[in-house]
Amino acid sequence: MTERTTKKKHADTSALPPLVVAGGPGGEDEGPGAVRWWRPRWLTGRNSGPAGGARKPPWFLAMLGIAFLIGMHFLAPLSGGVYAFTDWDGFNTATFIGWDNFREIMDSSVQRGALLHTFVLAGSYLVLVNVVGLVLALALNRTLKSRNFLRMVFFAPAVLSPLAVSYIWQYMFTYDGAINRMLGGIGLDGLRREWLGDPSTAIWCVLVVMVWQHAGQAMIIYLAGLQGVADELEEAAVIDGARLWMRLRRITLPLLAPAFTIVSTLMLISGLRVFDQVFALTGGGPVYSTETLATQVYQQTFVEGRFGFGASIAMVMTVLISILGIANMMYQRSRERRL
């Protein structure tokens, strides 16, 4: 065990001076001759015990913030959800139409397609971004001279605007773009195609851009997780004769479970609500082959003026994200406990 680790684990705190807490005994309102008014603990926010403790702001001061949070984050979307049950066109009076909008979602091939594409994109993205992010993290966790530079290079796309990134990729995917030119250059002319104009490839092009942009983000979270994997464990396993794959399977990956939970939850949610990449690369085309729930919300609401119908698609999307996000989190947490 290294000296650094030993110090970290057995730090002796007994020699430290006692923590001075403001507002505790001897505070300004408790000096000699001070009139002591009785104030309930819920108002002062004082900790229990006659000696008092860390003084906190009274909880009711948080009420304004909580009300604001509920109002902005929950009430507004929930009240907007009412429109999902109307035929509101954005300007005229909305008429209540029950579940008609949701029936239309189920009956319309375009909406069913959007639902399917959303699942395909989110599922593939979840798997690929995890795999690529983890591989990058494992590779860059080694003692390489250029590792910090490489980490920055791989993470850089994550801080760029998805729209800007997608417009650049759009040029690369055009018939005369970099990808077809590269294929031609290495003698693979037969593989040249209209990447974004072919329904069989367009959705995978969107996926490539999503993974390219966010794999670095996953890498950073995994790298943070890898910092918590003690070198001693790896060293002990090596002494015991464990090979690389065995060490990865039995030591590294189980200890990365919390990082995996975070990455998978974040990426699942961003995959389910993908909009920018689709909007910039294909606009949902060709012939609806890359439409997702998010692009349909935009199309129905702002292009076709069907605010009620757009709200119903948004509601379906919200429910899906909530259910899948929570289910994924619960599964990953239980997995963490098992490990």
């Binding site: 403001a22 507002g23 505070g27 300004e28 003084r55 702001p57 066109d89 954005g90 300007f91 005229n92 759009q170 995917f173 055009t174 018939y175 005369d176 209209e194 990447w195 974004l196 104009g197 072919d198 329904p199 367009a202 294909t282 606009g283 949902g284 085309g285 060709p286 012939v287 609806y288 199309q299 702002f302 292009v303 076709e304 003026g305």
Partner: protein, 426 residues
């Protein structure tokens, strides 16, 4: 104790800053409003209209000092979104760039829809309100009242490079068959006739307008009314079938530069400017772009040889501007419209459009002079979807038209989807 004081001080400072922020917000009052007797009008318009509106707004500011116009130019699709959101919030821009007619146009905001919802000021009393060719009146009016100032109209035509055509000693095609034959000839020269941006709405919209004007509206000017009455359908209309069949024929005859289905209209124009294609279908503004992008290549206009008639119709896309009924400064906004009405020639000159007065006289701008014989015969029709009940059938058509380029949809698929969208939106 010091920490306690600091905490209190922090709370006080925070509360003070919050109060100041609230006060500042309350006094700010947003972008528009009045200050020192000057009124500021707000408007949002598309980036393509910026050259024209900038000149007009400058002129308006010089003509008086009491009213200022603050215009923001954003992508076409965003205009509808921003304007709608502001209207719903009860804070509409004073001036609304809505699409004349009922279809919704390129920004999804139609004059009829807004007028029906009582969101537009009645402009019927203005002297220019009825000063319009008969064809355009229904686009500006709803239930007998005028809600839009028609600024100008633009048309789609065939751009061709005189640079190449003179070199090859050929004339622009007069019939659709000649156009198809010419595609083969141009390909033999190592170029393509046209570049199509079929991945977005704009390119498909232009093609649908041009071919339907020749095949549908030139023969049956009241087709839209018949469709609304249920007397005809897209699927049973020979004209509509031919409209999309001609687009398909252009694809199968290798008229288009490869890769249309995944290309945007903007990228297609770049191919024209770079000399990879020799023709294009588009509005005057596209012709202006081509000339500016590559001054070595000269361009000229001809009618698109679609349809069987010797005199195809010119499809008209109408531009207008309205005043929000619940705007902060309705009277001042109407005063600005009065100024615009008197300077529609300036709008036309700077936007590639032509004014309703020119249209009534059968005159066209210099670049479009070759099309003037058609204008003299009043061979105009409103662009398809201008007077449709909603934008939905057109949106479906634009999406499905991409399928003609990658062979995933047929002409019948498009017509069926359009009928469904029309019937659903009734």
């Amino acid at each position: 104790m010091r920490h306690h004081r600091r905490t209190r001080l922090g709370w006080k400072a925070g509360a003070g800053a919050g109060a100041l922020l609230l006060a500042a917000t309350a006094c700010g009052g947003g972008d528009g409003g009045s200050s020192g007797g000057t009124v500021t009008l707000r408007m949002y318009s598309t980036t393509t209209t910026e050259p024209a509106f900038s000149v007009l707004i400058d002129g308006f500011h010089k003509s008086q000092s009491k009213i200022k116009v603050k215009a923001e130019f954003i992508p076409s699709a965003k205009v509808g979104q921003v304007t709608t959101t502001m209207m719903q919030a009860g804070n509409p821009p004073d001036l609304i760039v809505a699409s004349p007619g009922s279809g919704g146009g390129s920004n999804g905001l139609s004059v009829h829809r807004l007028a029906e919802a009582n969101r537009l000021a009645d402009l019927s009393a203005r002297p220019w309100a009825t000063d319009l060719p008969e064809l355009l009146k229904p686009t500006a009016q709803f239930e007998g009242k005028t809600y839009s100032l028609i600024l100008g109209v633009s048309t789609q035509f065939l751009n061709y490079t005189t640079t190449d055509f003179e070199k090859w000693k050929v004339e622009p095609p007069k019939t659709f068959k000649e156009l198809l034959d010419m595609c083969g000839m141009i390909k033999s020269k190592g170029m393509y006739a046209m570049a199509s941006g079929a991945a977005d709405m704009a390119g498909n919209r232009m093609r649908m307008q041009v071919f339907s004007a020749a095949n549908v509206y030139a023969l049956e000017p009241d087709w839209d009314k018949k469709r609304a009455a249920g007397q005809v359908k897209f699927q049973t209309s020979p004209g509509w079938k031919k409209t999309f069949q001609q687009v398909q024929d252009l694809v199968t005859h290798d008229c288009y530069y490869p890769g249309s289905a995944g290309r945007t209209t903007e990228e297609a124009r770049k191919l024209g400017a770079s000399g990879k294609t020799t023709m294009g279908i588009g509005p005057s503004i596209a012709a202006a772009y081509l000339s500016k992008a590559n001054p070595d290549r000269k361009w000229a206009a001809a009618a698109v040889p679609a349809g069987d008639t010797a005199t195809p119709n010119l499809p008209l896309e109408v531009s207008g501007i309205s005043v929000a009924k619940r705007a902060e400064h309705v009277d001042e906004a109407i005063a600005f419209l009065d100024y615009l009405a008197a300077h529609r020639d300036v709008y036309s000159k700077n936007s590639g459009a032509f004014s309703p007065a020119m249209m009534a006289k059968g005159e066209l701008p210099d670049f479009l002079k070759p099309l003037e014989p058609l204008a003299k015969q009043n061979r105009f029709s409103l662009a398809a979807s201008t007077m449709w009940p909603s934008e939905a059938p057109a949106q479906v058509a634009y999406k499905y038209m991409t399928g003609l380029h990658n062979n995933t949809r047929t002409v019948d698929d498009i017509l069926k989807a359009m009928d469904q969208a029309w019937d659903n939106g009734k």
